[in-house]
């Protein structure tokens, strides 16, 4: 329930402190109490024993020696010692004259061992009472003939003495312990508050620093000047997270800017084509050519928007794949079909070198999107009258398909960017606006979605090769 670390630490420390103080006080109290009362009780007990020894049974009568009755402690005026003796049936045998008709507290005691209690006299003064059960002597008889008296003859004796100073000391002790405990608790609360505050300072500072980070300044990192070792891992993790966030945000912003940029160019094309056409009256054929020009641009834009949408869906994992057995050679041929015209225009030769037996389990539609994009790229960037060829081979648990073309002018460093969105190798591309650098990015994302991977390389002689690695090979079914 307690959300604050500070409150938790403070409450925990204080509870522990209070518990320890309580135990300590109880021990101190018990020890001092015992010491105080044991002296007092020893003196009371000896008086009681002495009194018991002076009681004789004469026939049925109980007698108390007179000189004992006259002992100074029984007769003194200030703080006298009272006594009272009862038979086992409760009748009073004797009591000190100073008691008058008052009774002392009669405690149930076992034979010959005194019990103690603190009580209050009628005057309100505290009395410490020692009670003793004993069997009286029989008067004037020889020791040898001493008949054993039975328990019915046992008498109970109580000796009491004013214990106000003892009780007073006891009370002072209790108050002292209470006050000291309270003071210690208060002081330790203050000290603990300061220590906890100091201890939590780095956390607060980090919290403030993190609180200050907005989407705009993700480049800030949490400093390590004041960070204790325990929080270091948190700081490091947070900084890692910030780095990744920053990179993601940058990527996102660049992507959005690239999208805007790539859409603006064809829009500018449409707009200025139409505006120029409308500037004066023209022949029908001219309007017709303007319209078909705009339609072509719209087609290109649609392709780009579809690619973007596909990328977004792949990222959001909203695309489902249906696997089936695919004959790769046949798939390549069907993907090449739409491009053959364009290849002819550029006098490119195409060769499908894939063995008809090689097949794999994959999603036909998405795999053909990948292949179309890779082939499209090859046609776009192959040299005039160059070559394009496809190969495939079976590995342990994968099938590797490769699309190669001649005439590549990319460096190895540039090749590492070919799968980045909107990246275009700066070659003399002829159709700006049509190829906006999404094809290979999309191919890479789809391949990942299919559980495979894709890579590109440049070999000496300007041969550019895109390798598609597909997982999950089923034994190919021979056509024969």
């Amino acid at each position: 329930m307690m959300r604050s670390l500070r409150a938790r630490l403070l409450v925990g420390t204080m509870c522990g402190m209070a518990l320890m103080l309580l135990i300590f006080s109880l021990i101190v109290h018990a020890v001092i109490h015992r010491t105080l009362f044991s002296q007092y009780d020893a003196s009371l007990a000896s008086t009681a024993r002495m009194l018991a020894a002076s009681v004789e049974l004469d026939g049925g009568e109980v007698e108390l020696e007179f000189d004992v009755q006259q002992m100074p402690e029984f007769v003194r005026r200030d703080r006298p010692t009272y006594y009272e003796i009862w038979r086992s049936d409760g009748t009073v045998v004797a009591r000190s004259p100073r008691l008058g008709t008052n009774d002392l507290l009669r405690l149930e005691a076992s034979l010959n061992s005194p019990v103690f209690a603190t009580t209050r006299a009628r005057s309100g003064l505290p009395l410490r009472v020692a009670s003793l059960k004993f069997i009286p002597r029989i008067s004037d008889s020889d020791d040898e003939q001493q008949p054993q008296l039975s328990k019915e003859h046992a008498l109970t004796l109580a000796v009491a003495r004013d214990a106000s100073d003892l009780v007073g000391q006891h009370r002072v002790l209790r108050w002292l312990l209470l006050v000291v405990s309270a003071v210690v608790i208060t002081l330790s609360f203050l000290v603990a508050a300061v220590i906890v505050g100091q201890g939590l300072r780095p956390l607060n500072l980090i919290a403030t620093e993190i609180g200050g980070i907005t989407e705009q300044d993700l480049s800030t990192r949490i400093g390590d000047a004041y960070i204790p070792g325990e929080i270091m891992p948190i700081r490091n993790r947070l900084n890692d997270l910030l780095s990744r966030l920053e990179a993601a945000f940058k990527r996102e912003r660049r992507f959005t800017a690239d999208v805007a940029h790539e859409l603006r160019t064809p829009l500018a094309g449409i707009r200025s084509t139409i505006e120029v056409a409308l500037a004066r009256h023209r022949e029908t054929d001219e309007y017709r050519s303007v319209l078909s020009e705009c339609l072509a641009i719209a087609h290109d834009m649609q392709t780009m928007v579809n690619n973007l949408l596909m990328l977004a869906r792949l990222d959001a994992q909203q695309i489902s794949f249906y696997t089936e057995q695919i004959q790769l050679a046949e798939l390549v041929n069907s993907c090449w079909q739409p491009f053959s015209g364009r290849a002819l225009d550029r006098r490119l030769t195409f060769e499908n070198r894939i063995d008809a037996e090689i097949a794999c389990q994959s999603d036909r539609q998405n795999l053909s999107t990948v292949l179309s994009n890779v082939l499209d790229n090859a046609i776009e960037y192959a040299n005039e009258a160059g070559q394009i060829w496809t190969t495939a081979c079976r590995k342990d648990d994968s099938v590797e398909m490769a699309v190669s073309n001649t005439g590549c002018q990319l460096t190895t460093e540039q090749t590492s960017h070919v799968f980045d969105s909107f990246w275009r190798g700066d070659s003399s591309r002829k159709d700006a606006g049509v190829h906006c650098g999404l094809g290979l990015a999309l191919a890479e994302r789809i391949m990942r979605g299919l559980g495979g991977s894709v890579c590109a390389e440049v070999q000496p002689g300007g041969i550019f090769t895109v390798r598609l690695i597909l997982p999950n090979v089923e034994e190919s079914r021979s056509i024969q």
């Binding site: 805007a260 790539e262 500018a268 084509t273 120029v276 056409a277 004066r280 705009c294 606006g433």
Partner: protein, 224 residues
């Protein structure tokens, strides 16, 4: 007035060229950066319309090279890059204007006209030489209160002479600023057109406006 359009997106390049030619400009055009630089440094263009992301050579690179070679052509950057940083970079590298795609064609035309006025120190879009009046915006010409109808080529020639009114203008200047690189015309065409123009501007009882400076060219207005 002669313009160079360096733009790699084919539909835009075509419509720009067409629109600018129809507006009376002589337009050379290319879609490649390297080629664009070659055009820009080899000829004296009045305005260069420059895209930034180009194959062959980046637009800013072309701009830098043009400026370090001391070319005085006015450069208008036409690009999809719209951030303040991009604009500032472009202008600071020596561009004279910056227009973001997509744009209104009319605005592009107006900006080109403004750049032309600037390069000939002509603030007023109406040029008046004696009783000859030329409206640069609507491309209409009057002598006194009478409007004169000119063909686009004739107008382009007159406009160039008017922009440099009072100064000697050589045949090769006219050739450079009024005719396109790929035009099939030869330089005698200049003399032929000057002849047409003189005839159209001629009004009985009014003095001749275009004077021949022997062996050197022509002057519009009072002889320098």
């Amino acid at each position: 007035m002669r313009l160079l359009v360096i733009e790699d997106y084919r539909p835009l390049q075509q419509s720009l060229t067409k629109g600018l030619r129809e507006a009376g400009f002589a337009v050379d055009t290319t879609r490649d950066g390297q080629e664009g630089l070659w055009y820009a440094t080899g000829n004296e263009y009045d305005v260069i319309i420059l895209d930034l992301m180009l194959p062959g050579m980046d637009g800013l690179e072309i701009l830098k090279k043009i400026r370090t070679q001391g070319q005085k052509s006015h450069v208008l950057i036409l690009t999809a890059k719209d951030t303040v940083r991009d604009r500032v970079t472009g202008l600071d590298l020596g561009a004279d204007d910056y227009l973001v795609k997509p744009f209104a064609f009319e605005e592009l035309l107006a900006r080109v006209r403004a750049l032309l006025r600037r390069s000939y120190r002509q603030k007023n879009p109406q040029i008046e030489i004696k009783d000859l009046r030329i409206d640069l915006t609507t491309q209409r010409v009057w002598r006194g209160s009478q409007e004169i109808t000119l063909t686009p080529k004739e107008y382009a020639l007159l406009e160039y002479l008017a922009m440099r009114a009072g100064h000697k203008v050589s045949r090769s200047d006219i050739w450079e600023h009024v005719y396109e690189f790929e035009s099939s015309a030869s330089s005698n065409v200049v003399d032929v057109y000057i002849g047409y123009l003189r005839k159209k501007l001629q009004r009985p009882g009014k003095p001749q406006l275009i004077h021949t400076v022997r062996g050197r060219g022509y002057v519009l207005g009072p002889e320098a």
